[in-house]
């Protein structure tokens, strides 16, 4: 279950293009000032950017840098500073860089902004997790969560949602997810009361993850269906939500819906989140198999997923041929993979599909075949294969999987002639559903565009003003042209 980390790291490459390499501390200070302006101007987007920049710095964090930054950002003698420095591992004083001393001197910098404080918590937490100091990380995250509860500022929300994530992540790494479930639930309640939609989104996902970790699909579904839904704020969170939703639906046998959300999750996930996309694809493949579809070969040949999807590829092959024997050997061969992916129970469900596909193949190729042969071709191993085959065929006929009749007296299965598909409404339906899909995609793309705020007000500018402005612009242009001429 590493997909989350990988998802986290993806904004990194886009931001690490800084030309020269000023010290990490310098970067951190810049980020802090970014947060500060964001907090004063109440611009959440600045803070989002700050978080993204931080992730880019993640690899470069060192104890010395961190403690220097803490000294710089937090008012000396404050409670938070004392607590945070206690989590950092002790190191020799002379390790510190020279500029740390200078920065410490101008600390009177009145920063007591809650945003900065929360940001420091976040930074230390990320650092501790990266250093694999999980028990400290747990303690640190718990204190930060306790501190967060008492705050109610919209500008903190972004930082808070990241903190929630690392809180849950640090507990997951030590395998104590169950401990924090009650806490997460109450945090979700608080976020709902404060209309903190990003926080709600994050916490809902964390809760779903928490439940699914213990296979509590029932509770997860109940929570999901009761929790308020709104337009997604963060793409990553939305992807995760879709993935969890797909998992729940698969378990509850709603394959069509499950397939839709799993494919959407795989498509929406950022390119860098390879682990996540592999997981999505695994589940999507199984769901499609359960639906009776055969995924295309290209699905398995996607870049970087070839080896991970190998077991599923062989499984698909077995289902496609409809060979029970082959299916059984594949399931046994990769049993450990399937059980670590927690898809073992789904694979067991597939057996029925294998039989169906085999039966369909038989019914297409033979116009009349004896039940004993059917049993032999499907490789049914039981005490009375003919009786088995008879009841299996009759069920398949009833479910509409094959178009045939049974002749009990002679022990035959008689297939009906299949008519020309193009004389039916079938192509029309298929065409219609594809058109609908394209239109939907177009609409969603339009909706996803981001428009600058207040751009619609410009439209209201009166005709007179516009004329005036145009005139001014023309004059300006003339001036510039003249100046250009002068220069030559």
């Amino acid at each position: 279950m590493t997909q989350d980390v990988e998802m986290k790291e993806l904004p990194a490459p886009s931001n690490s293009v800084t030309s020269i390499v000023p010290s990490t501390l310098q970067h951190l200070k810049e980020i802090a000032s970014l947060i500060e302006t964001g907090a004063y101007a109440k611009e959440v987007r600045r803070i989002v950017r700050a978080v993204r920049l931080t992730i880019a710095l993640r690899k470069k964090l060192k104890t010395s840098v961190l403690s220097a930054f803490l000294n710089y950002a937090l008012p000396s003698g404050s409670e938070a500073l004392a607590k945070l420095t206690s989590y950092l591992p002790k190191e020799d004083e002379h390790d510190m860089e020279v500029d740390t001393a200078t920065s410490a001197s101008h600390t009177p910098n009145k920063h007591s902004l809650p945003e900065i404080e929360i940001y420091c918590y976040l930074l230390v937490l990320i650092f501790l997790i990266d250093q694999k100091k999980f028990s400290e990380a747990k303690a640190c995250s718990s204190t930060s969560i306790a501190r967060l509860r008492s705050m109610n500022r919209r500008t903190v929300d972004v930082l808070a949602s990241r903190l929630y994530f690392y809180y849950s992540y640090s507990y997951e790494l030590t395998g104590d997810l169950v401990e924090i479930r009650a806490n997460l639930l109450s945090l979700h309640r608080i976020a709902t009361l404060r209309h903190d939609e990003l926080g709600q989104e994050t916490l809902l996902n964390l809760l779903l993850r928490n439940y699914l970790h213990y296979n509590l699909y029932d509770q997860a579904e109940k929570l999901r269906s009761k929790a308020p839904r709104f337009e997604a704020h963060s793409n990553q969170q939305f992807c995760r939500y879709l993935f969890y939703l797909g998992k729940i639906r698969t378990i509850q046998l709603e394959y069509t819906d499950a397939k839709e959300s799993l494919l959407q999750a795989a498509r929406k996930a950022p390119v860098g989140a390879l682990g996540f996309r592999v997981q999505c694809n695994k589940w999507a493949i199984i769901v499609r198999l359960l639906l009776g579809e055969i995924p295309e070969r290209t699905v398995f040949m996607q870049k970087g997923m070839k080896t991970a999807l190998r077991p599923y590829f062989e499984l698909t092959n077995a289902v496609r041929i409809g060979d029970l024997e082959l299916f059984r050997t594949v399931a046994e061969k990769f049993a450990s993979t399937f059980s670590s992916d927690r898809t073992h129970n789904l694979i067991v469900r597939l057996r029925h599909n294998v039989i169906r596909t085999g039966l369909r193949n038989i019914s297409i190729s033979y116009s009349r075949i004896s039940l004993a042969d059917v049993a032999q071709k499907l490789r049914l191993d039981s005490a009375n294969p003919v009786a088995d085959a008879e009841s299996i065929v009759s069920k398949a006929i009833r479910d509409g999987a094959i178009d045939a009749t049974l002749d009990h007296a002679n022990g035959w299965m008689v297939s009906k002639e299949t008519g020309d598909v193009y004389s039916t409404n079938e192509p029309q339906f298929a065409f219609n559903s594809r058109i609908a899909f394209c239109l939907n995609m177009h609409n969603e793309a339009v909706r996803a565009l981001r428009f600058p705020p207040n751009s619609h007000k410009k439209e209201k500018e009166s005709a007179e003003k516009r004329r005036e402005r145009q005139q001014q612009e023309q004059e300006l242009a003339k001036h510039i042209a003249e100046e250009d001429d002068d220069e030559f």
Partner: protein
């Protein structure tokens, strides 16, 4: 009396004789479940089972596992199968560990579901002889009833000519197990 015990779910408070209280309560609910099966009352079974369930899921670290646990869980799976609540059946199944799956009681229910989905009804009907626990018989009879109705449906779907032979086949199987099936055929 049970309401007076503070150590029971959902409070789960620590108390000196928590283990005794918990195991006592669990035994009571287990008997209630078995009793509801004997009384052939499906609603009561569902109620009692949900009362019992927290003792299996949430008290695992305090109580030694009950010998009755797997038979009762298997019974519940069977009930869901009989009531055709397949989605819930699979949700329950996900909660079970790999070792639980090996248990004959659970395995019985899982295999039944498989043959049920495949349509191998004759296997379902013959599974009655191999029930792992006496309480299972009631649900197996119910299951036979569901199966026979389903079979009749499938027969009506087919052309007229296999009708006599198929019905003969079915009645032969049904006679042994289930008088209801016979009634609806004639």
């Amino acid at each position: 009396m049970l309401t007076g015990f503070k150590s029971l779910p959902p409070l789960l408070e620590e108390s000196p004789n928590a283990v005794h209280e918990l195991s006592l309560a669990r035994d009571i609910y287990e008997h209630a479940v078995v009793l509801s099966v004997k009384a052939e009352d499906q609603d009561a079974f569902e109620r009692d089972f949900f009362q019992l369930k927290p003792y299996y899921t949430d008290t695992g670290n305090r109580l030694p596992p009950s010998p009755q646990e797997y038979p009762i869980l298997g019974l519940n799976l069977l009930r869901l199968l009989v009531q055709n609540r397949i989605a819930e059946f699979h949700t329950e199944l996900e909660l079970l560990s790999a070792s639980a799956m090996e248990n004959p009681c659970i395995k019985h229910a899982v295999e039944l579901e498989q043959s049920f989905m495949e349509g191998a009804y004759n296997r379902v009907l013959s599974a009655r002889q191999t029930v792992p626990h006496e309480t299972y018989v009631y649900f197996m009879d119910l299951l036979a009833k569901t199966v026979s109705v389903a079979d009749l449906l499938s027969e009506t779907y087919q052309m007229v000519d296999p009708w006599p032979c198929m019905s003969a086949l079915c009645i032969n199987m049904l006679k042994a197990h289930c008088p209801y099936g016979l009634l609806s055929v004639t």
